[in-house]
Symmetry: C2
Subunit: 195 residues, 2 copies
Amino acid sequence: MTEHQIGRRERKKAQTRKALSDSAVRLFIERGYDQVSLKDVAEAADVAVSTVFKHFPAGKEALIFDEDADREAALVAAVRERDAGQSILDALRDYLIAQGVERTAHPDFAPFLALVESTPALSDYARRMWRRHEASLAAAIAEETGASADDIASRALAHYAIEALFLVRGDGSSVEAQINTVFDLLRRGWGDLGK
Amino acid sequence: MTEHQIGRRERKKAQTRKALSDSAVRLFIERGYDQVSLKDVAEAADVAVSTVFKHFPAGKEALIFDEDADREAALVAAVRERDAGQSILDALRDYLIAQGVERTAHPDFAPFLALVESTPALSDYARRMWRRHEASLAAAIAEETGASADDIASRALAHYAIEALFLVRGDGSSVEAQINTVFDLLRRGWGDLGK
DNA sequence: CCGCAAAATGCAACCGTTACACATACGGGA
DNA sequence: TCCCGTATGTGTAACGGTTGCATTTTGCGG
C-alpha cells in the first residue's frame, strides 16, 4: 500500500496552486477583477494558461476561493453536533456569527472582502458556494426535527440562515449584532424547531 | 408633436425581437441551453449574430426573459398600495402567490419552467432579476414602517419574501400552500411590520 | 537506470461578448 | 414627391474564458 508521504511532487503542486491563488488575489485587488485576464495571472505565477485550469477547473472566480473544502461538513456538523439543549436555530446562528466575525477580525482580509463585495461575479460565486450546501443543511435539519426530507420549513430555514450572512452590511452595527437581529426575527417563526 | 403611431419600423423591430425570443425558447427546450449557441438562435431567427446583441444586450440568458420591464414597479406597488388594514407581509404574500400561480396555471409554461429549473445559468439569472429589485422593495418597506433606509429587518424581509418564490418545489403541495407555509413562519417574526 | 504516471505545456478551436465600420430601410419634413 | 437623418441590421475582427488533445517534462518507485 502506498503511504502518502508528501514528496517533492505534491509539494510543487501545492506550491504552484498557491502561487496562482496568491497572484490572482494580488492582481485582482490591484487592478480589479475584470481588468485582469487569466493570461495575466498565469504569467504572474509563471505557468501556462492551461495549467490554471488544471488547478482550478471551476474557472476564474475559483482562483481566490480556496477554502471551500469542508464547509458543508462544518455546516451540517454545527446542526448535528450542537450542544445539548441548544436549538438548531441558535446553533446555526452561532456558527454563522463565527464565520462572519472570523473574516472581519483579521484586518488583512479587508481589501479581499472589499474586492468580493464590489465584484458581482465574485459575490455571486460566493453565494453559489454556500447555496451548494443548502440542500445538505436542509436535509440535516429535516432529519433532526423528524420532518420529511423535502419539508419546506426546513428548506426555508436552511436557506434563510445562510442568506443571513449576505444581509449584513458594513455600515451601522457589528456583524454579530446584525445576524442576531435577523435570527431574533427568524426564531419567532422557527423557534420550535430542534427543541 | 410626433404621435407614437406604431409604424412598419417598430413593428418589424418587435417582430425580430419576438422571432429571436421564440427561437431561443424552442431551441433551448429542444436541445438544452448549453447545447444551443447564439449562432444557432440567430440562424433560426434568420438574423445576424450581431443583431441578437442589439436586441438583448444582457446576453444569452435574457433571450427567454422578456417580461422583466415593470416587475419592480409592481413589487413596490404591492406594498405601497396594499388594501387598508392589510399588513405589508400579507400584501407581499398575495402578490407572490399570484406570480407563482400565474405560471403554473398555463400548462404551456411547464416545459419552460422545467428548462429554467434544470439550467443553473437560467435559474441564477432569474434569481438575479428578482434580486435586482430587492433594494427598492426594502426601501419601500422601511419607509412604510418608518424605519431607517438601511434597516436590516426591512432588508431581510424583502430578501426572504422574494426568495420564497424559489423555495417552492413541484413535488408535494401546491404553490399557494407552500408560499403560505413560509409566510406563516415569517409572519411570527415580522408580523408587527406595517400594522 | 529505466519506465510509468503525474504535472505542465502548447496549440487549436469554440463560444459569448464587444466594438466598429458599413449597408439598408423607414419616417418625417421640405 | 424627394431627400436626408437615423434606427435597424450586417459583417468582421478581436478579446477573454473554457475545453480538449497531443506532447513534453519531471518526480517517483522498482
